[in-house]
Each structure stands twice: as structure tokens, then as C-alpha cells.
């Protein structure tokens, strides 16, 4: 087995046991990137050569990829947009700094939909990333490159952002584990803002355990981000093996309504059976305001986007505004409209009220159940070009994921099987700051399945 096929845990343990060296690990991954990246276009910038982080720490010798929306000191950061084609930041985002100070080596910056606007990766201004399971298919977005980098063995850990499903959807489409943490669990400082009240800072790994290991390092209060929480950061690996016996898993009826691909539904039913087999109780629940979530999301999110993109005026850095792509322009227009005098009350304010109802939906549900599980995407991964002419159809890809961003709750996307060689994932959703429970539930499933062990043939 090649080193690039190992999980983070295996790499760390192997280093400890002196089975291989840090250099061997890094060379193995770099060689893999050189070979695979031209095929899948996961990295926009590869930091090659001998730029290895020689800092001693838990992650010394471990290669890590960052979505190109994380600002990295002295390393070009584009947010997937031609506006920032040549932008080189002055500082590191908090998460990058945390990882680098633990010895991680940044191997590159990963491809994405420009400004994180998109569900397929096709909105990247630098050509889309391809799904390693079938390069005619989209990998999901917007954190496409990071999901693919992990799925294709180009790094064991890669970071993304999830504003409406941008980690969970590509995780599901690429057969990797993706976490959207609780809003405020991980610092947003130094991550180019998309929709500030939704942006959640998470990561992709090949296993649930690896994912927990990384959250141990990224979670916590950041004095530079006023929205981070003081809530205690537990050891997320501590209870991971506790199983699901007696656990109450909620099944919200709204998430299996019409519009779900029967193939996806079939896989999801098998997941439920597995959990029942492990001793969990599946309980039917309702999240009654779910049907409004996508509409609410497409009011609040573009409103924040329109304001967040205002600084890219070409005066101090970056190219001028005519480099904005169609999707960014669409959201700037939508958001400017919904915030305008005379429309604010009818759109933004109303949407914020419904957002409160969505938060209450979850609160009420968690009085009855411990976690909720749902599919991640209503469809299988789709082909390039299938939805690019129809923005609304593209927006519908996020119908099962945006609600968690509106409510702020955490969700973990886990590989759940394959249909015609294409991955299908499901998500475990918990109350605020219950990531340890999500890992426990995800780990239990992972131990009795081998989806995560499957590798794409490239």
C-alpha cells in the first residue's frame, strides 16, 4: 500500500512507530498530486519543492490542503475568482495558523466555485474540479477541490467552508467524511466571507476518527472572531467508540418528500436499517418549516453576499469588478434588491423571522431525539453542464443542507454507499455543539461498513 492511501491516524501512528519518515509521506503525496491533479483539477495552487513545514508538532509531516478561500500568508488566495487571480494575502487565517503551528505542511490551495457560490464546482473561474469516481460528473461544491483532494489521496485532510452545504454535498458526492461544525465552533477569521451568519468552517477526511482528530485542533474561541463560542472543547475522539445502542435517531418526514431520487432513498433506507441493527431507535419527527428554508436562505445569503463582496472594488487589491462571474453578479443583484428601502421588511426581515422558526424546529426536535439523519443530496452526482443553464435547479441541490446553516446546528456527512459507481452520502445532524455525538454516531456506522475503504480508480 502506498503512503498516500493511509488515513491521518495511520500516518501519525506510523510516524510514531518509525515505519516511515515525514519526508517519505510528503514525497508520496506530492507525487500523487503531480500525477492526479492534471486529471481532476483539485488544486489551483500546488506548493511544491521543499517547502515543508519543519515545525515540531502533532501534524509534522502531514500534508494539508486548504480551500482557496482561506487566506494564506504569502500564498496566492483567489476564492476561485478571477477578481483575486493574483492576490497574495498578508496574513494567515486562524485555522491555517493553528494547523501550521502544529507542524502541518500546506500542500496547496484547492479549487472551488468562485466565492463559494455553487453546488457543483462549475462556477470556478479556473475550470471545474472533476469527480474522481467518474470524471464526467461533478464532485459537488462549492468546496470541490478539497473533497476531491482527500478522495483521490492527494492529502489526508483538506479544509472547506459550508455556507449552505458546501462541505457536505461534495463529501457526499466524493465518498469522504465532511463536517459542518456548529456556527461559532471554529473561527472564521481569515476566511473570505461568503454569507457571514452561515459560514461554517469544516474539513474533509477519509474516516470519522480523522475528522474528530482535526476538530480537536481547530475548535475553540478565537479573540479575532467575535462570533466564536466559549463553549468547552472536548476531546472529540474520547467517546467515539461508545456506539448507538438505545440512541434516538430522528427521521424528519420533510426530508423524504417528493423530489428525492429513488436511488438515493434506497441507500438512505439501508443506512437506517444498519442503525436499527446497531441498536438505535429510529423515530419519525417533523421539522415543519423546512419547506421555507431554501427561500429564506436565498434571501438572507445573497443579502450578506452583496455586502461582503463590496470591498472587491479593485482599488486596493485584486482586479476590478468586471471580473466577477455570472453567479456572483446574480447574488449581488439579489442581495442588493432584498436589502433596499421598501423591500427590506418584506424580504430580509421576514426571512429572519422564519429563520427563528427553523431554529425552534430543531430545538423542539431535540427534545424528542438525540440526533437527526437525512440524505445530503436529493440526487446522485450529476454530469457537467446538466444544471448550469438553470440556476434554480442548481440551488435545489442544497435543499437538504441549507436548513442546518440557517439554524446553526452541526452536521456530519458520511459515505453511505454507491449507485452505478457514484457515491451517496447521508448526514447526521445534532444540537449545537454536539459534534462529539455526531462522531460517535458516524463512527458506529463506519465500523460496520466499508464504503470509506473504497478508492476511486484513476
Amino acid at each position: 500500500m502506498e503512503l498516500y492511501q493511509l488515513s491521518l491516524k495511520e500516518l501519525i501512528e506510523g510516524l510514531k512507530d518509525k515505519k516511515f519518515t515525514r519526508k517519505e509521506i510528503l514525497v508520496s503525496f506530492y507525487t500523487r498530486i503531480q500525477k492526479i491533479n492534471p486529471i481532476v483539477n483539485a488544486f489551483l495552487t500546488v506548493i511544491g519543492g521543499n517547502n515543508w513545514n519543519d515545525k515540531e508538532g502533532e501534524l509534522s509531516g502531514i500534508p494539508v490542503g486548504f480551500k482557496d478561500i482561506y487566506v494564506t500568508k504569502d500564498i496566492r488566495t483567489t476564492a476561485g475568482s478571477k477578481v483575486l487571480e493574483n492576490y497574495i494575502p498578508q496574513y494567515n487565517s486562524t485555522v491555517v495558523q493553528k494547523l501550521v503551528s502544529k507542524g502541518a505542511t500546506i500542500v496547496g490551495k484547492t479549487n472551488q466555485d468562485a466565492w463559494a457560490h455553487g453546488s457543483s464546482g462549475e462556477n470556478s473561474d479556473f475550470a471545474p474540479t472533476k469527480n474522481p469516481w467518474n470524471i464526467d460528473y461533478v464532485p459537488g461544491g462549492s468546496s470541490s477541490g478539497s473533497a476531491v483532494a482527500v478522495a483521490a489521496g492527494m492529502c489526508p485532510v483538506a479544509f472547506g467552508t459550508d455556507t449552505g452545504g458546501s462541505i457536505r454535498l461534495p463529501a457526499s458526492f466524493c465518498n469522504v467524511v465532511g463536517l459542518k461544525p456548529t456556527y461559532g465552533r471554529v473561527s472564521r477569521y481569515g476566511i473570505i466571507a461568503m454569507a457571514s451568519s452561515h459560514d461554517s468552517i469544516g474539513h474533509f477526511t477519509r474516516t470519522v476518527y480523522d475528522n474528530a482528530l482535526i476538530l480537536n485542533m481547530t475548535a475553540g474561541k478565537d479573540p479575532c472572531d467575535a462570533t466564536t463560542s466559549n463553549t468547552n472543547v472536548p476531546d472529540y475522539t474520547k467517546n467515539i467508540k461508545n456506539g448507538v445502542k438505545g440512541l434516538k435517531i430522528g427521521l424528519p418526514k420533510e426530508y423524504l418528500a417528493k423530489g428525492i431520487d429513488p436511488n438515493v432513498e434506497k441507500i438512505f433506507k439501508q443506512v437506517l436499517q444498519k442503525y436499527e441493527g446497531l441498536g438505535a431507535k429510529i423515530i419519525d419527527i417533523s421539522l415543519p418549516h423546512t419547506e421555507y428554508a431554501l427561500a429564506v436562505y436565498y434571501i438572507i445569503q445573497p443579502s450578506e453576499v452583496s455586502s461582503n463582496l463590496a470591498r472587491y472594488d479593485g482599488i486596493r487589491f485584486g482586479n476590478d469588478r468586471n471580473r466577477f462571474g455570472q453567479e456572483a453578479i446574480r447574488r449581488i443583484m439579489l442581495g442588493t434588491y432584498t436589502l433596499s428601502a421598501g423591500y427590506y421588511d418584506a424580504y430580509y426581515l421576514k426571512a429572519m423571522k422564519v429563520r427563528t422558526l427553523l431554529i425552534q424546529d430543531f430545538k423542539k426536535a431535540y427534545e424528542k431525539v438525540d440526533v437527526i439523519i437525512t440524505p445530503v443530496s436529493p440526487t446522485l452526482p450529476f454530469k457537467f453542464g446538466e444544471k448550469t443553464d438553470n440556476p434554480l435547479a442548481m440551488y435545489l441541490s442544497d435543499i437538504l443542507t441549507v436548513t442546518m446553516n440557517l439554524a446553526g446546528v452541526p452536521a456530519l456527512s458520511i459515505p453511505g454507499g454507491f449507485v452505478r459507481g457514484l457515491p451517496v452520502g447521508f448526514q447526521i445532524v445534532g444540537p449545537n455543539f454536539s459534534e462529539d455525538l455526531l462522531y460517535q454516531v458516524g463512527y458506529a456506522y463506519e465500523q460496520v461498513t466499508d464504503w470509506h475503504k473504497q478508492k476511486p480508480k484513476l
Binding site: 482561506y70 487566506v71 488566495t77 476564492a79 483575486l84 492576490y87 494575502p89 498578508q90 496574513y91 487565517s93 472564521r188 477569521y189 481569515g190 476566511i191 473570505i192 466571507a193 454569507a195 457571514s196 451568519s197 479573540p223 479575532c224 472572531d225 467575535a226 462570533t227 443579502s303 450578506e304 452583496s306 455586502s307 463582496l309 463590496a310 470591498r311 472587491y312 472594488d313 482599488i315 486596493r316 487589491f317 442588493t336 436589502l339 433596499s340 428601502a341 427590506y344 430580509y348
Partner: protein
Amino acid sequence: MNNFEPIIGLEIHVELKTKSKMFCGCNADYFGHEPNTHCCPVCLGLPGALPVPNRRAVEWCVMLGLALNCEIPLLSKFDRKNYFYPDLPKGYQISQYDKPFCVNGWMEIYIKDVISNEVRNPGSIAAVKNIRFARSLANARDDNGSKKTIRIRRVHMEEDTGKLLHGVVNGEKCTLIDFNRSSVPLVEIVTEPDIRSSDEAKIFLKKLYQIIRYLGISDADMVKGSMRLEPNISVGIAASPSAPRNDNNKESELPSYKVEVKNINSFNFVKKAIDYEIERQIEILERGEIPKQETRGWDEKKGITYSQRSKEEAHDYRYFPEPDIPPIRWTTDQITKYKLQIPELPDKKLKRFIKEYGLSEYDAAILTEEKEVAEYYESGIKNYELRIKNEKVNITPKIIANWIINKKVNISRVTPEELVKLISQKQQTVQIDEKELDKIIDEILSDNQKAVNDYKAGKTQVLMFLLGMVMRGLAGKGDTALIRKLLEKRLQ
């Protein structure tokens, strides 16, 4: 003829003198520093940077609100005010929209006699003194006609912008941006349209300035731009000449337009700009037209206002809650704590000085004009109280007040201890005169009967001889002018 009545509201921006900026750790003391040396990713609005509010600045904003008798809502939040300008790096200013820190306050000003006095002596130094005097009189009489309440609509917190510099670089005309001022804490105070004249506006502003300086939250230095003034002016028609509209609850009758004059940097210019606007607007109204709602600038050289932006060009700021900063929730205990931190303010101090130290209104007003002077004065009094015990000198608070007011003591050079020492030395000299002078003069006159006779016969030059004798008797400690006067009186 119509009975026109000016309707004036004020918006005042004040930069707080906190150590660091409003949303980052950069040094907020930017004035006079090399451009772009007090900046970081946050105040430059670089991609990914996030604001973290400055606790001290927020506390000071609340304290100013409390000093202006505002209510402090227990829930408050920041909002984004979106507009484009090159000095605004994020494309929005973090401000407060519908949930400001402080609302519904008021301030009392003393007004009636001021105007008559100032009109009598326009522009003179005496007029300035008369303001204080008149205020004191008004205060003393507690005359309702001369006391006026100006309501404060809100006091909120925001951030300052960068600054554009127009210059020539390599022979090319260009505009440069200095971000040192970007994100310096700024408080905005907005009054209700309760002001009816340029004099009232000026008095209000001076008192606001005084309170801000008392709180020690800003230098409010208008030359440096740390206090910026924007009057909103319109002219209405009063109900009848005998019943001028001066109550505060008739918003429904406000004129249909208003003119905002932007960024004025002195109280006198505010007064002039208001007077100019009133005249300009009345002229338009007398033609039967309505002045345009617009923003105007103030040309201090020409002494006129000029049109900058009309109502149609007004921005739609697209305010919405700032998602990067959680809402702020106060407890009533916290508010009480801030209340206790507010120092004694000018009005209260003035009343106390009168009562406690037996000062005239006039003296008390001068001594309380600035907090430093008032504190200096009281420190002097504490010192003299000690000296009374130890040295049995006869100094009164009134005497210390006279010294500070009339002899213009340099309070930064002479400590209160030194001042009291100085006064008591002088006092001791005078005391000898009072008690022993009569006795000594009696002795000298009876011992020198010839000289007395010579003087009475017309040889007035012998006075100098007698004076010298008295001075010798006093061992040189006497006040010659006084002795001369006493001798002349005795020799008449």
C-alpha cells in the same frame, strides 16, 4: 407677514480617545502620524478579516448616553451601512441603525439672557463673559423662560473612515488614501429638532463639548476633526406671533423638507451656517416656494453654504444587522455600574460650588467650565483646610476662587499646594497691616509732630518721610500704597 420659525436639529460625531481602534488592536491615536502606519487587515478591510468590538469604546458610548439622560436599552446591536467611497475599505461602515446603545435623552440649556447680552455686545470678549454671567443669572432665578430642554434622540457607536489625500506624485495628480483613521471609534449624537436659533445651537454644542471633556472620553478637538458638527435646518411658520412654538411634541407640524449642512468644525461656523441657511430658506419661502431637501457644504471663506447632494441622489444604505458581531445584551447591574462611573457633571458641580463654598454664580460657572480647573480649585480648598488647622491663616474659598479667576493661575505649573502657600503668604502680609497698622501710624504721627505740622502747612513731600518711618516700624512688610492712603486720610 409670515412669522417664520427656524427648526434645527443637530448631529454630532465625536471620536473617542480609546487606546485602540473600534474593531481591531491598532493604535487609535492617528493624528499627525505617517499615513498608513496604524493599520492591520481588519481596518484595511482585507479579505477574511473580522471586526471585534472595543469594549472600552462601547462603555464610553453608554456613559455619554447616561450623562445625556438617555435610556440604555438592554438589547443593542451593530448594523452595516452599505455605500461606496474609496475611504471606506469594506464597502460598508459598521454603525448602529434601529437598536442604538442610547435613546430618548435630554439636555438642559440656559438661553434667554444669553441672546440679549450677546446681541448687545456682539463678538466682544465681554459677550463671552456675559454668557456665563447670564447663564448664572438664569440658573439662579430658575426662570423657566430661560431654561430649555433639548431632547436627544439617540447616541450610537460607529467607526470612522479613512481619509483621502489629493496630491501630486511623480508629476501626476492623484488621490491617495490614508487608513490610519479607518475604524477609529466614533460616537454619533442626534438631537430632536428642538432647537430654534443659531444661539441655542451654539449653547447646546458648547455644553455637549463640556460634558464630553468632563467624561474624559474625547479631546473633542474640532481642529483635529475629533468633533464634527452637522446641523439640520428648516424653517416653518409659527402658529402666531404671541404663541411661538417652543414645545417639543409637534413633529407632525415639522416642515416638509430639511437641509443638512455637513462636517462643520467650529461652534461659530455652525452658528454662521445656521444663520445663513435661515436667511436663504426664508427668502425662498417668501417667494412662495419650498426649499429643496438636500445636503449642503459650508464654505468658511465665503461664509456661505453650497449644494452637495439632492434628495434624489440620497443613498439607500441598505442597513442590515452586522453578522460578524453578536448582539450586545446588558444587565441592569452593568448599567448601574456605568452610572456610578460618571463623574459629577458641570451643572451639578456648579450648584454644589455655590452651596458648599459660598461662591457667586459667576465664579462657580467659570471654575466649573473645565473639569481640570474645578478639580484644581477643590484640591486647593483641601490644602487650605489643612493650613487653617496648622497655621491659623485666614483664607476663604472665595479668595482661592478669586486667585484662580482673576490672577489667571497657570494650573499646569503651580500646584494647588503652592497656590495656597502663595495666597497665605500674601494674606499674612495683609493681616499685619490690618491689625497693627493703625497702632504704628498713631505712634509715628505722635512721635513726629513737626512733620505732621509741616504737611498740614503744605509741605506734602514730608509724607514720604512718614511713610518710611511706618515701613520701618513694620519691618518692611507693609503695602506702601495702602499705608500712603491711610496716612493721607489721617493727615487731612
